[in-house]
């Protein structure tokens, strides 16, 4: 059940990705409409983060390509905003909440230019949107998990992009915060932004996403929520390991070279 759209904001064409020659995503081929809140669902190790990271160009594809706004990534980087997983950084780093959110403006600033008043203004507005104004000068190690997550989302907002890619932004976030952030993301989608979220909770996915991508090493489904959130597709996504595919993966890993590399 894969729905392709005309004039997609993001096109993933036959993408295969490997880590150390072990394929973690097989031939993902999908296109996404603009202005929607889109969820990426799948079990642990299904390749959800890998998909986001390849879109951001952080992992080189083994084969296939990605087009964003019908262009190559390098041409449109400043229009894309990225929220990495919270655990990917050391929160003991000596920085305030504002310092981290201002990093969101670095992309448009470019190399060597120092952030000024305008950038601080943008960062403060972003913090207001996620309800963290009271924590502007707080040291980041003193924040709770949910607050750290909101700081990361604020940093993404400060990037002032059109496409937002978020890797597990709700990990370690309480229910009230999750709902508040989801509402913020819905508002963003309503103003024409496209928001792509890696998510693990099927229940809240039902409530908030308009479009859903289901992954389990390969693309199970991509389409409007009502059409893809079916029992059969969910079982296909979460129903155990794909035994044969896992065996092939192991076989490839044991080769002396990567046969999938084009």
């Amino acid at each position: 059940m894969i729905t392709q759209v005309p004039n997609p904001i993001l096109e993933v064409h036959d993408l295969t990705v490997s880590y150390d020659q072990q394929p973690v995503l097989w031939n993902v081929d999908l296109s996404l409409p603009a202005g929607q809140l889109i969820g990426i669902l799948g079990p642990n190790g299904a390749g959800k983060s890998t998909l986001i990271k390849s879109i951001m160009g952080l992992i080189p594809p083994t084969s296939g390509y990605i087009k964003i706004f019908n262009k190559a990534l390098q041409e449109v980087r400043t229009r894309i905003s990225y929220v990495p997983q919270r655990e990917s950084v050391d929160w003991n780093f000596p920085a305030s909440v504002l310092d981290v959110v201002v990093m969101g403006t670095y992309g448009k600033l470019g190399l060597f230019r120092r952030p000024g008043k305008k950038e601080v203004q943008i960062a403060q507005e972003a913090l207001e949107q996620v309800g963290m104004t009271a924590f502007v000068t707080r040291q980041i190690s003193e924040l709770s998990g949910g607050q750290q997550q909101r700081v990361f989302i604020a940093r993404a907002l400060a990037q002032q992009a059109d496409l937002y890619l978020m890797d597990e932004p709700f990990a370690g976030v309480d229910m009230a915060t999750e709902t508040a952030i989801f509402q913020l993301l819905q508002d963003m989608a309503r103003t024409g932004k496209t928001v792509l979220v890696v998510h693990h909770d099927i229940h809240s996915a039902m409530n908030f996403f308009e479009w859903v991508i289901m992954l389990n090493l390969h693309l199970v489904a991509s389409g409007p929520k009502d059409q893809v959130m079916t029992e059969e597709l969910l079982r296909k996504t979460y129903g155990g390991k794909l035994n044969l595919l896992t065996q092939v993966t192991d076989l490839i890993r044991k080769q002396d070279f990567n046969p999938l590399k084009s």
């Binding site: 951001m56 160009g57 952080l58 390098q74 980087r77 400043t78 894309i80 990225y82 990495p84 990917s88 950084v89 050391d90 780093f93 000596p94 920085a95 305030s96 310092d99 981290v100 990093m103 670095y106 992309g107 600033l109 190399l111 060597f112 120092r114 952030p115 040291q139 190690s141 940093r155 990037q159």
Partner: protein, 428 residues
């Protein structure tokens, strides 16, 4: 004393130069080292500083004398080779980072020592000064060398201030940096060049063996005092300059003393003092916090005893009666009694000890917190009534007024705890 005055009044221009050189060197290495400390790559600096020794020897052999230009170039190249090798090995082998760093350090240093010994046996009269590269000799720096070392320090500072934002990103979130299109590999390369340069300019004054200390210790010590990057860098530079000057002074006063070890002694002293006196995580601070907490618990216990006696319609208790309740803390209870009396929470007269009006209200709060917590554990966490007392004994000293309000609301202002005792409240 004469030496002290002579040194610190800078009558001797050569001393002025040396101190100036040490200051520049200290700032440069502290800045670079602080980033490398935050990046958790402290060992790499150590490996590089040991790895420059073969390059120093090579420079000496090629120049036939102690020409700083040859030595600096040789040291830089050999440090660069070590850095390159360590990242190449990391990419192309399955060895862990620490084993790679340790191997690079020992292999390069071993080759360096072999070369140094060979040069010493060769009978070249210029060889005497070469030993100072092992442990450093700041006083031995000639004025001409200083321009080279100082110039390189200035270059490091300049590049660092230009790359401040980029290095911050490199340490905190390199993945994000890559995602916004910054050339993170290039930035890491520039940083590695600065790291090698910082080592190279320190070898004459501090020596290859201890240079890593000048890189890492200032930042590590400064981290005890601040949570912001800019103050951290400034403080690290200050610590570095301070110990640099003191170390140079000692090696000036005591002629046979190498500079490096003394700089490290002063640096370690600063780090130790930071560890003890840091206002946030120092051991004195933690000791005081613990002592204050214990004192509070004893006072709370005493007030609780008086309140419970009152519940049993006994207005006063004697000191002996209270001691009997807490037989292991007699001394602390007596001390608490004095404090509570001066605070006006407890009144003493010939018949015994009783709570004042304010004391009664405070004691009631402690008992209320205890019983609220017991009820919460019992009702919300399904813990049996005979298992809740221990936890409540701790929580009664900790719960804040905000949490108390939340507990009250959650439990809907209960009247009885799980042991059917009244949860006391002030009647308005």
């Amino acid at each position: 004393m004469e030496d002290f005055l002579y040194f610190f009044t800078f009558q001797d221009p050569s001393i002025t130069w040396v101190v100036l050189g040490i200051m520049l060197l200290g700032i440069g290495s502290a800045y670079v080292g602080t980033f490398s400390f935050l990046d958790k790559k402290a060992l790499l600096g150590d490996a590089i500083s040991h790895a420059v020794l073969p390059g120093i020897c090579l420079g000496f052999v090629l120049a036939g004398e102690k020409d700083p230009r040859y030595i600096v170039t040789g040291a830089f190249l050999s440090g660069a080779l070590a850095t390159f090798l360590s990242s190449w090995l990391k990419q192309h082998t399955k060895l862990s980072e620490d084993s790679i760093t340790a191997s690079i350090l020992s292999v390069f240093f071993g080759i360096g020592i072999v070369a140094l010994t060979a040069i010493q046996k060769s009978g070249n009269p210029e060889v005497a000064g070469l030993n100072s590269f092992i442990f450093g000799n700041a006083i031995g720096i000639a004025e001409a060398d200083l321009f080279l070392y100082g110039g390189l320090s200035m270059a490091i500072l300049l590049v660092l201030s230009l790359f401040l934002k980029e290095f911050r990103l490199m340490v905190f979130d390199p993945g994000f940096g890559k995602a916004i299109g910054f050339p993170m590999k290039g930035i890491r390369f520039v940083f590695n060049v600065l790291l090698i340069l910082a080592v190279v300019i320190g070898i004459q004054a501090i020596g290859v063996v201890l240079m890593a200390a000048l890189l890492i210790t200032p930042g590590a010590a400064a981290r005890f005092w601040t949570d912001r990057l800019q103050p951290l860098l400034l403080l690290a530079a200050f610590f570095s300059i301070l110990s640099g000057i003191l170390g140079t002074y000692v090696s000036f006063v005591l002629p046979q003393m190498p500079t490096g070890p003394w700089v490290v002694v002063f640096l370690s002293l600063i780090a130790l003092l930071s560890f003890i006196f840091s206002p946030k995580s120092g051991i004195i601070r933690r000791f005081l916090a613990r002592r204050n907490y214990l004192r509070k618990t004893h006072k709370d216990h005493l007030m609780k005893a008086l309140f419970k006696a009152k519940e049993a319609h006994k207005e006063r208790l004697t000191l002996e009666e209270i001691h009997a309740l807490y037989p292991f803390h007699k001394k602390e209870i007596t001390h608490s009694l004095q404090e509570l009396t001066t605070q006006g929470l407890v009144l003493q007269d010939s018949q015994g000890i009783r709570l004042s009006t304010q004391g009664n209200s405070d004691a009631m709060r402690i008992v209320r917190l205890h019983r609220l917590w017991e009820l919460y554990l019992n009702e919300s966490m399904n813990i049996a009534p005979d298992h809740v007392h221990e936890s409540a004994e701790q929580m009664e000293h900790l719960l804040t007024p905000e949490l108390e309000a939340q507990l009250e609301q959650r439990l809907n202002y209960p009247t009885l705890d799980p042991h059917q005792e009244t949860i006391p409240r002030d009647t308005p």
